[in-house]
Symmetry: C2
Subunit: 116 residues, 2 copies
């Protein structure tokens, strides 16, 4: 059993190509003994975004705070706000963008632990 506040988790800059103003935390992952899934948290600054890419595993999201958009394979944008859940299936091209001018966009992004 483990309990950890998000604020106590180290925050690292995302250095992937195509990312801008994005930060990653790993509140529950392999080092904590998760059996199946890892919970990461991404914080995207105003005007920031994650890479527009695809990979063979899913994302399962919950928006903790802020406003953003989820871009799909066709380049269409779905709005995301606090309290929204989202599923990006394996192989789907996607990108998360902060759509606010002055507030961080923060979300849980769950993945199979092999890809944390």
């Amino acid at each position: 059993m483990k309990v950890i506040p998000l604020d106590a988790v180290e925050k690292k800059k995302v250095n992937l190509e195509g990312a801008a103003g994005a930060w990653k935390q790993l509140p529950l992952g392999k080092e904590d003994g998760v059996p199946v899934y890892s919970y990461r948290v991404f914080t995207v600054e105003p005007n920031g975004h994650t890479p527009y890419h695809s990979h063979p595993y899913e994302h399962m999201n919950f928006v903790i705070e802020g406003e953003g958009v989820l871009v799909n394979e066709a380049g269409e944008e779905s709005p995301l706000k606090t309290g929204d859940f989202a599923l990006v299936s394996p192989g789907e091209k996607h990108q998360y963008r902060n759509s606010s001018a002055d507030k961080d966009f923060k979300m849980i992004c769950g993945v199979p632990k092999e890809f944390e």
Copy 2:
């Protein structure tokens, strides 16, 4: 790809023995095509709780709002508040209790999809 606000998800009373004042939503589950994991949300009313039990799969929690406690195998209570993550490993006896007198306690509880 799917986006759904938590407020749009049907809420059902938890009728398990040992549960009181607890409600369940399933924003992302098997019907949505999740590959591995399901995200449920439990809302526990003031003075409410989930069963004190164990099972052969884990819980991965994020507290969306409110204040509660997570009871462990020894009966000890760990406080849980908005923004906290928690892991209950497979086989660990556990219970979630709302510790506030007047506010709901609401949390994500992720499980392997077979146990949603």
